[in-house]
């Protein structure tokens, strides 16, 4: 990991096309400005972490996968319930 110290109004350039600038610092909050081509997706890292964790949590062993799917099928047939609540 590259670690850099920057001040407000300074920035850094990544790969020529992406610029990250420090716009403001307020306590433990840092406001960043990112300039990047439209084709680059920029996401808050915690969202990526959340999806990664969920991918790992959602995996089902191969031997059980089809059986678990069958056991979940009632969830997609709410009409089968007699109780509408």
């Amino acid at each position: 990991m590259l670690v850099l110290t920057r001040r407000v109004d300074e920035g850094l350039n990544i790969g020529g096309e992406i610029t990250v600038r420090i716009l403001a610092i307020d306590g433990d909050r840092v406001k960043l400005g990112v300039v990047a081509p439209r084709t680059v997706t920029i996401l808050r890292d915690e969202l990526c972490q959340r999806v990664r964790n969920e991918n790992t949590a959602a995996s089902i062993p191969a031997a059980e996968r089809a059986a678990v799917a069958r056991s979940l099928k009632f969830l997609v047939q709410p009409a089968a319930k007699t109780d509408g609540s």
Binding site: E54, A58, R70, L72, V76
Partner: protein
């Protein structure tokens, strides 16, 4: 491109196929080694899908069209998403949200009543090209309750 997922062609709408090989270039989010999947359904499973990883057969998911559970689910693709997916026609897209079974959450609750749907990171598949991408939809939760 902003569309609802409603009306997206089911897998078996493509020449009667019940299985399709899908390449996720770069893998799933945070799981770069999981690139190749078989997406499988049949009359018994539908509208659920088995999403079986070919790179690591121990890895696999159950997925469903998110609009089955959340009819107003709205998918938003970035320019990068569209490029990665080969600029698909709307009718070529299959959107699958991964179901997290309750047992995987370490919960002691009744397994099949507290399963959740990951709307934060659905899989979007171009059925014509056999390419897919896990896209992050920051407006949605990773734990949408099922069967509530």
């Amino acid at each position: 491109m902003q569309t609802t997922a409603a009306g997206i062609a089911p897998l078996n709408g493509v020449e009667g196929a019940t299985a399709i090989a899908v390449h996720f270039s770069g893998g799933l989010v945070g799981c770069a080694d999981w690139e190749h999947f078989d997406v499988v359904t049949d009359a018994e499973l539908s509208p659920l899908y088995l999403i079986n990883c070919q790179d690591d057969p121990s890895i696999g998911f159950i997925g469903a069209d998110p609009t089955v559970f959340k009819p107003d689910f709205c998918l938003e693709l970035t320019a990068e998403d569209e490029a990665q997916l080969g600029y698909p026609e709307f009718g070529d897209l299959l959107v699958l949200a991964i179901i997290t079974p309750a047992s995987s959450l370490g919960s002691t609750a009744e397994p099949s009543t507290s399963a959740t749907l990951n709307l934060l990171g659905p899989l979007v598949i171009n059925l014509q090209r056999g390419i897919g991408r896990q896209v992050i939809q920051s407006e949605y939760t990773a734990h949408y309750p099922l069967g509530a």
